[in-house]
């Protein structure tokens, strides 16, 4: 029997504040339901990231946790995995620390892992909190939905391309993009978790690891997506109504 597909959930106790650990659950289950042996490896903060995993998942976290995580990852294990062609999916703080630089809790510029050509500083306006909707640049993924909750503005360099074009919400806060794609590294600001709300994205990542996949019945996910799309439309209509003022009398 083949070895199980190993999904490494990187430092969930510090990069798991916004439910993003669910991404590893989704990936593992979608393989198992197709009869492919798979397991999630929870990587503890006092351990190095295993280099022999097949797919690495990073989530969001608080500022101090983000710095702790990037300092641990400074041992180069994740960079070596990426060099070996492994796939990485990173969300929010997990996305920011893969870039060239980000801001730590004290607002100082901190070096990232340099796996994505991007730099993160602060959004000009208030924190970006709310539903985020976009169209993914990844083949076959289509519309992506989730919830963003961050204060970072991420500007991509020439080696990275946006993961999605934002239709509603803030995303990177730059050039109407959300997240980044650079080689085998895919990153986004979407929580929800992203892979529960967007099963096509989960399968796009899995295909990079195991090749073609049998279809699954995703009726419940599709129902959730339809409901979220409708909620965004409802919220827009409410905003328009609130902003509408009768024309001033002459």
């Amino acid at each position: 029997m083949a070895d199980p597909v190993r999904i490494a959930l990187v430092y969930p106790t510090v990069l798991g504040t916004y439910g993003d650990g669910g991404n590893a659950t989704v990936l593992t289950q979608r393989l198992r339901w197709r009869g492919i042996d798979a397991e999630t490896i929870d990587v503890g903060i006092d351990h190095s990231v295993p280099e022999q995993a097949d797919l690495y998942v990073l989530g969001g976290g608080e500022d101090s946790a983000q710095t702790l995580a990037v300092n641990r990852l400074g041992d180069g294990a994740l960079n070596r995995a990426v060099d070996a062609g492994k796939t990485v999916f990173a969300v929010c703080a997990g996305f920011q620390i893969l870039g060239e630089t980000f801001l730590d809790g004290a607002g100082a510029v901190h070096p990232g892992l340099g796996l994505i050509d991007c730099r993160t500083d602060r959004l000009d306006g208030p924190r970006a909190v709310g539903e985020l909707l976009g169209d993914s640049a990844l083949d076959g993924v289509g519309t992506v939905t989730g919830y963003e909750n961050h204060g970072g503005r991420t500007v991509l360099g020439p080696d990275a391309t946006p993961f999605a074009t934002v239709r509603s919400g803030i995303g990177n806060g730059d050039a109407a993009g959300d997240g980044a794609i650079q080689g085998n590294v895919v990153a986004t600001y979407l929580h929800g978790p992203a892979l529960a709300r967007n099963p096509e994205l989960a399968d796009a990542l899995l295909r990079r690891v195991v090749g073609e996949l049998d279809p699954l019945d995703d009726a419940e996910e599709l129902e959730l997506r339809r409901e979220r799309f409708a909620a965004i439309t409802r919220a827009k209509v409410t905003r328009w109504r609130r902003q509408w003022r009768p024309p001033a009398r002459q």
Binding site: P12, T13, V14, G16, T17, Y18, G19, D20, G21, G22, T25, V26, Q29, I45, D46, E62, D63, S64, A65, T67, L68, G105, R127, V129, G130, Y147, N149, G151, H191, G192, P193, A196, E220, E221, E223, L224, E227
Partner: protein
């Protein structure tokens, strides 16, 4: 020494509250308090009127601990409390203007409002239960809340802190107080305290003990909780047999007893008073629906859900999972994935509430058999087909279920 302005503000607030009650819009607590505070921003301080207060705060267990402490202090005389759980300054102002005679007050306070309320009512004691992720769309970071508490407790004339030594965030905050009483109230949810709030390093755990390289470590408790036994500072062991479920509530009872001791209530008297509490504003309420026993459990955040799921029995029961995502609940239900719903495998769950679709997807990936029913009453009826029902609901969904079963 009541000022004219405060008297007017109080009257206007209670008129508005009465109007709100009579027109069936609500119990009037919030609107009344809001009007009073708008007319006189110092109304909370006036309403406090130099009385003797305990405040209770924390992510989970505020209402239960407030109820326990109130029961214990009633052995000393009348107690005013924000029963109903309206725990923002508006609700507190309304509660204190309604009852102006009781000399002792027990107030549960929403976590970020601890400094404002402390400044206004000058409590004798602050009971600090725990801090974990909740409503992240509003508060973003848990550590920030701990910092707010720490600042409040380092002010001169800050209250005595009765604090949970098992929660590193609480310890960091409470160690700023001049006087602290440590209670080992337990911490089942450690996922927000992997990182030291003081230095940003790793917190190392060894059984119940924990420490950080910077020197922050678990203080030695003077009140110790082991299972259903509480050991008081004199070394006397008390068997605490509560009428409400959950190990976590023995910890809450110990916190309340430690606070009540500051009013010279003996631990034995305090625990006796607490064992009579069999529900807390609908939480843990045992009732029936369509002739089948039903119990209501409130869970507002991952830590609360972990506790609530541990109270669901193993045998044949129907389980209703009801989740909304209104502002009071937090707008983002991503936290559903922080909760190990896998423990429900082998049982039948009904997903309902405004975010029932998120719940259904979560249960799918947890391999839990489930259906999804939009209407809350219909969902409960569907679950009664299985057997006695445990309803687990988050904040606003819980209020819906209190109406469904005809309580409140």
């Amino acid at each position: 020494m009541t000022s004219t302005r405060y008297a007017l503000a109080r009257t206007a607030g209670s008129l508005a509250a009465g109007l709100s009650r009579r027109t069936g819009r609500g119990d009037g607590t919030t609107v009344g308090g809001r009007i009073t505070l708008a007319l006189d921003p110092t109304a909370l301080e006036h309403a406090a009127g130099g009385r003797d207060f305990a405040i209770v705060s924390g992510t989970n267990g505020k209402s239960t601990t407030r109820t326990f402490l109130t029961a214990a202090l009633l052995t000393r005389g009348p107690v005013v409390s924000n029963a109903g759980g309206a725990n923002l300054p508006t609700g507190l102002t309304a509660a204190l203007t309604r009852d102006r005679t009781a000399r002792i007050g027990v107030l549960e306070v929403d976590e970020p409002f601890v400094p404002i309320v402390s400044e206004a009512v000058h409590p004798r004691v602050a009971v600090l239960l725990n801090l974990s992720r909740d409503q992240l769309d509003r508060y973003a970071e848990v550590r920030r809340l701990a910092g707010i508490w720490r600042d409040a407790l380092s002010r001169p004339e800050a209250p005595v802190a009765v604090a949970n030594c098992d929660d590193p965030l609480v310890v960091w905050a409470a160690s700023a107080a001049a006087t602290t009483v440590w209670v080992s109230a337990g911490q089942r949810w450690a996922n927000d305290t992997a990182v030291c709030p003081a230095c940003g390093g790793v917190i190392t755990r060894d059984g119940a003990d924990w420490s950080s390289d910077c020197g922050l470590r678990r203080p030695t408790p003077t009140w110790t909780v082991e299972g259903t036994q509480v050991t008081d500072p004199d070394g006397t062991r008390h068997q605490v047999t509560l009428a409400i479920p959950g190990d976590v509530n023995v910890g809450n009872a110990a916190m309340a007893a430690a606070a009540a001791a500051l009013w010279d209530v003996t631990p034995a008297d305090a625990f006796t008073a607490m064992t009579l509490i069999d529900e807390v504003e609908g939480r843990y309420l045992r009732t029936s629906f369509a002739g089948v026993p039903v119990r209501l459990l409130l869970a507002k955040n991952p830590a609360g859900w972990v506790e609530a799921l541990s109270m669901v029995p193993d045998h044949e029961v129907g389980v209703v999972i009801a989740v909304n995502a209104r502002p009071a609940d937090g707008r983002d239900p991503s936290w559903l994935w922080d909760v190990g719903f896998e423990v429900l495998r082998g049982r039948v769950a009904v997903a309902t509430g405004e975010r029932s679709r998120d719940v259904a997807v979560r249960l799918r990936y947890a391999d839990v058999d489930h259906t999804r029913v939009d209407d809350e009453a219909a969902a409960l009826r569907a679950a009664t087909k299985v057997g006695p029902v445990e309803v687990l609901a988050n904040y606003t969904a819980f209020q819906t279920y209190r109406r469904v079963v005809g309580d409140g």
